[in-house]
Symmetry: C2
Subunit: 423 residues, 2 copies
Amino acid sequence: MAHTAEIIAVGTEILLGNIANTDAQFLSQALNSIGVNVFYHTVVGDNPERLRQALNIARQRADIILTTGGLGPTYDDLTKQTICEVFGRPLVLHPELEEAIRTYYESNLHRRMPANNLQQAMLPENCTIFHNAVGTAPGCAFEEGGVHVLMLPGPPHECRTMTERCAIPYLRALSSEVLVSHDIMTFGIGESAVEEMLHDKMVVMTNPTLATYAKPAEALVRATAKAATLEEAETMLAPVVEEVVSALGSFVYGVDVASLPERCFRLLKEQGLTLATAESCTGGQLGQWITAIPGSSAVYRGGVVSYWTEVKASVLGVPQETLDTYGAVSAETARAMAEGVRKLTGADVALSVTGVAGPDSDDRGNPVGTVFVGLAAPDGTFCRSLQLGKRRRDLVRHNACNHAFDALRRYLTGLDPETLSAK
Amino acid sequence: MAHTAEIIAVGTEILLGNIANTDAQFLSQALNSIGVNVFYHTVVGDNPERLRQALNIARQRADIILTTGGLGPTYDDLTKQTICEVFGRPLVLHPELEEAIRTYYESNLHRRMPANNLQQAMLPENCTIFHNAVGTAPGCAFEEGGVHVLMLPGPPHECRTMTERCAIPYLRALSSEVLVSHDIMTFGIGESAVEEMLHDKMVVMTNPTLATYAKPAEALVRATAKAATLEEAETMLAPVVEEVVSALGSFVYGVDVASLPERCFRLLKEQGLTLATAESCTGGQLGQWITAIPGSSAVYRGGVVSYWTEVKASVLGVPQETLDTYGAVSAETARAMAEGVRKLTGADVALSVTGVAGPDSDDRGNPVGTVFVGLAAPDGTFCRSLQLGKRRRDLVRHNACNHAFDALRRYLTGLDPETLSAK
C-alpha cells in the first residue's frame, strides 16, 4: 500500500517570507524517492492553537505526518508539546538524551549546557528517537491510531541530515518493498522533447516507471523500480536505463550525476587534465561553479574575468585587430580568449564565454542572449555560437555557463563540442 | 482591522520537490509589508478534489485567499474551475482578454494563439482582472461572503510582476491606512546583537514598529509605520530610521539597499572609480556578484581567479618569496594579490580573497574558515584577517565575499576597511 504524507512546517519566519520552505522541498524529494506520496504541505507559525488545528486536519487526510521546526529550547518552540496533546501521548524526560545533549555542548561547543536545553531531552513516551548529529535538538517518530508522526528540526542542515540518517530508514521499514531510482541527466534538449521521444515507452510502463523533470535549462529522466530487494530493483532498472540513454544519445551527460560541472570535474580528473576559464558576461560564474566542488583544485588552475575589452587585450592577449574587426562579442574573440587563458595559466583545456547578458543589446547591436563559448585544447580551438533568447540577465548567464560545461563535456568524451546533437 | 491571509499553491511539482515554494515566500514578504498577516501556507497538487478541500478549510480561517499556479491552458490547470465551484461563481468568457492573449501571441511570440489558450480568457463573473504583463495567463480577484480570493500565475516571474502591479494595489485598497517600511541593512553584527542593542526601543514602540531579520551573515532592521497617508508615514519614520542608524553606527551599510555589492556598485559609480578582483577560495564569486548587477561594466574592469599558487605568481605577480614564506593563505599573499590585479587591470581599487573554504584544512594546517581579504587602493593596501568558523564550503565562501565587499564599502566611505566596528 502506498503511504500518503503531509509535511507541516512550524515557523513564523516562513510566513513572514524571511526564508523559503526548502525543508519541504528536500523532504518531498526524499519521500517521493522511496514511494511515499506527498499530498499536502502546510506552514503554520509558532502558534499552538493554529498548529493544533493543522495537526487535526492532517491526521484525517494523511497516514504519515512530518513536522519541521519548533524543536528548539526557547519558549516559542511548541511542536512537541502540541503534538503530544493532539495525539494523547505524555511528554517525558529521556535520560539518555539529556546525557547526549550535555556532551554535545561540552565537546562541540565547549561550554556548559544552558538549563533550558533540558527541555530538548523531553520527547513523547515510547517513541523512536532520532539523534541529531549536527545540532542539539533531537527528533523522533511514533505511531498512534494508524498515523505515523515524525518530528524533525527546522534548520535545513539538521533537517537534511536527520532525514537521511533517521527518517528515511524509519519510513522504509514501514514497507516490505524497496523503491530504487536512477536519474538520467540531459542537456540541450527540452523537457517536452524528451517526453515526446520517450512517450510511447512511458505510457505503457508500470514498473519500472519513467518520469521527466525540468531543471533550469536541463531535463532529467528518472527511472524508478519497486521490488522486494535492492538487487531485484537494480536488475529491473539496468535495461531501462540503458534503453533511455541510447534513445537520448549524447544529450545524456551522465546517470546519477549532480550537474554538468560535476561531470566535467570527474572527466578532467580521470583524464589527468587541468582547466582554465576566461569570462566576460558570466563575470566569474564558470569559476565559481567549478570551485564549488570540493577537491576542484586538482583540475582547476584558475581564470580571468575580462569584463572590460581592454582586459581582454592586455591580460588575455586577444589581438586588438580581432576586437576592432569582430567586436568583443564574437566567435573570434571567444576563441582568442580561450587560447589566451590556456597559454597564460598553462592549463590543458580552457573555456571562454563572451556575450550579451542584458538588459540591453551591446553597442554593436547584438541582442540580449547572443553568447559565444570558446574551447581551446591541444588539438585545436572550438566555438559554440548561441542565441539564448531575450531573457532575464541571470537566466542568460546560467544557461551560458551550462553551454560552456556542455561543450567541455562533449570534447572530453570525444564528441563535437560545437554542436548540440544526439550523435 | 488587520486582514488574515492564506496562500494556497497549486502544483504537483512542489509536492514532488522539483521546486521550492518561492512564490509563497515572495508573497508573504509583500503581504506583510502592507500589514496583511499571513497565517498559513498550503500546497496541493493539480487535483480538483484536494484543492476543493483546501479552499473550504481556508475560507474558514482567512479573509484573504491567494492562490498561485494552475492558471495555464492545459488539462491539469484547474484552479479557476475549482474556485468558481467552491465559491459559487460562474466562469465566463471575457472578450477583452481573448483579444489581449491573441495579441500577446502574435506580437511577442510571433505565432498564432493555440485554440486551447482561449481557456485563459475565462474568468469568474464580475471579477477584477489582473493583466499578465510577462505571460499569457491572466489572474483576477473577487469577493464572496467577506472573503477576497486572488488568483495569481505560478511561474515566479509572472507571479512577482502581477503581485506588484495588481495584487498589492488591490489589497491596499481594502484598507484606509497605508503601511510604509524602510530596511536598515547591517553587516558584521549578528541579529541577536542588533536585537539586544535596540531591545529597549523595540518593546515600547507600537507605531512605527521595529523588527529584526537575519539574512545569511547579515541582519536587517525594518522600521514600519501605519498612517492615513504616505507622507504622514514617512514623517513618522524619518526620526526612527535616523535613530537606528546612529545606534548601529557603521555596521549599517545602507537603507533600502539590496546588498553589499549593490552598495559598493553605487559608491564606485558616484566616485567615478573602477574595481578589479583577485580570487582564490571564492573562485570567481566576487566577480559573479558584482556583474550580476545590470550596468556593472561602468565600474568593474575584471579580475583573476588565481586558484593555483602558480597562477598567483605568474599572472598576479605575487612574489615567490611571499608564497614560500607565508603561504598562499596569508595576509601577505592577500595584499600582493590585490596589488597585483590592480596593476594588471589598471583599476583604481582592487579586492582579493584567499582562504580555506574546506572541507579540509590546507597543507599548512590553516583550519577551514581562515580567510584573508585584501584591498589595494591609491593610498595604500589593507587586509582584513578572518576566522569564519568551520562551516559548510558554500557558507565560508559566501561570508568571505560579503567581508570583501564590506571592506570596500568601509574604504569608500572613509572608514577603516580592516576592522569591523560601529565607529
